[in-house]
Symmetry: C2
Subunit: 289 residues, 2 copies
């Protein structure tokens, strides 16, 4: 399907994409660039990329598919550094966890090449980062959200849809605004709560003893608190408004429980807990089988 | 080791204990009582209990080991209903998730039989409740916290330690106060946060769409929100003071992140997230292998 994939960022997400594309026979050659030469060299040794590019610009040169797999805050500067070399037929995608900021960066830089850009967010990942954990199956049966703008050309949107579907992903399309609101609630806020819980415990004198006593409930609840700090700092800042709205709504919900507990209002508390528990029992991850 | 186990409450925790004791050959006969006759009948059919008792009192009659496996709020009334039949040599245990309230209930009722009571909290469970999920392996390799009081007799404490160890549990001893403080932080608060998150999302117009988009991070984070509502309402009320202190500390920790996000303070936010992430990466569940 594609002659050359230009991979900008050869970490877990980018590396997994390259491996999956190669295994599916969807790309002939992968040329990769990473800020860290160690990463690029490892990606080369692992067969994730075929050629090492000394700059983002050179990774884009001659590539009919370009994937940005970098922290969302780096999107605009990457676009600036590659804009002049993007071919008129190339499809550009990203894998950022926030979409309005990425679209804004694209608008301000890509100009007449904006139609070639398809913003993407795969709902996939691991707590482990780095190309050493790249996995050709990372996107299989996982949701991928595309947030095309009114300027995205049908040709590029269709190519993106087809390639993700060919990797086994479950392709969804929505606006960047709807995406950011939804993921603030079901992903960015839970991460923020996980970080805040760890810090709240760590600030206490007996934190060591407390953590040594924790069981499997804590283990699963706090798993996302082990996520990559730079990436998540970027995501939280990029989706600031939606995230703060969610965090405030959450604090109100928590405080309402506190009041009922303080006042010993058994029945009202039971009602709240039952509502939450029922909803979670009835929920299941809407993944492709 | 024991002639007869009197089981008061034949749900997941009690039923699993009976199955484990039988399999280990630690008890000859189990007589069980549950508030719900359906539960007792099911326990009988499943071989969890050998004899159905029509009352808590009759389950205790002739039992040299008694296990209370009821919501913590029911502890005091159960003690009142069985106090007169407790034999002078019987060992009494509970499996409640909070310990100061249970000890208080025991003190106010058991009087001169207080020395026979060993308060226990197994750090084990499932989101699924009910005897139909009882599992002889539930306590294997799991921590069990014993919180003896100054009146607990060594003989009964040693019996309790030995039997839990024989079931494969990892036995710890601490004060009821230390127990309640620790589990407020690493168990009760995470459950409360899980319930509050579900309710915060459910209160929003687009909650259905949001929940349909959630991935594996949300799945693991929110797992404990599916816990049994009555049991958790009781636990939260029973450990009120410690839990509210933890919830307030948590809200401060969350609000500190909100402020940094609002102000776009990248470096300070990164520092907080890094601290949390490092601590969680370095944590591992301290279970018996």
């Amino acid at each position: 399907m594609f002659e050359q994939l230009g991979l900008i960022g050869c970490g877990l997400m980018g590396g997994s994409f390259a491996l999956a594309m190669k295994r599916a026979g969807l790309v002939k050659r992968v040329i990769g660039y990473s800020k860290s030469p160690t990463t690029t060299q490892r990606a080369l040794r692992m067969g994730v990329i075929d050629v090492e590019a000394p700059s983002a610009l050179l990774a884009v040169s001659g590539s009919d598919l370009v994937l940005l797999s970098v922290p969302v805050a780096a999107t605009e500067s990457i676009f600036r550094s590659i804009i002049h070399i993007i071919g008129p037929k190339s499809t550009i995608m990203d894998v950022g966890s926030t979409k309005q900021d990425v679209v804004k960066a694209a608008r301000s830089v890509l100009k007449d090449k904006m139609g070639q850009f398809v913003p993407c967010h795969p709902i996939a990942g691991k707590e482990l980062s780095g190309v050493e954990h790249a996995d050709a199956n990372l996107y299989k049966a996982k949701k991928i959200i595309l947030t095309p703008t009114e300027r995205t050309q049908t040709e590029h949107l269709e190519k993106a849809k087809q390639l993700w579907a060919a990797l086994g992903s479950d392709v969804h399309t929505m606006s960047a605004a709807a995406h950011d609101a939804a993921y603030a609630a079901v992903s960015h806020l839970p991460h923020m709560l996980g970080f805040a819980l760890m810090n709240s415990i760590l600030a206490q004198d007996d934190s060591k003893e407390y953590l040594a006593l924790a069981g499997s409930g804590f283990r699963d609840f706090s798993r996302i608190a082990a996520s990559e700090p730079k990436m998540w700092t970027d995501i939280m800042l990029a989706n600031k408004d939606e995230l703060i709205a969610q965090s405030k709504a959450f604090r109100r919900s928590l405080q309402a429980m506190e009041v009922l507990i303080q006042q010993g209002q058994h029945d009202a508390l039971l009602e709240l807990v039952t509502k939450a528990s029922k909803a979670r029992v009835g929920w299941k991850m809407n993944d492709k089988k």
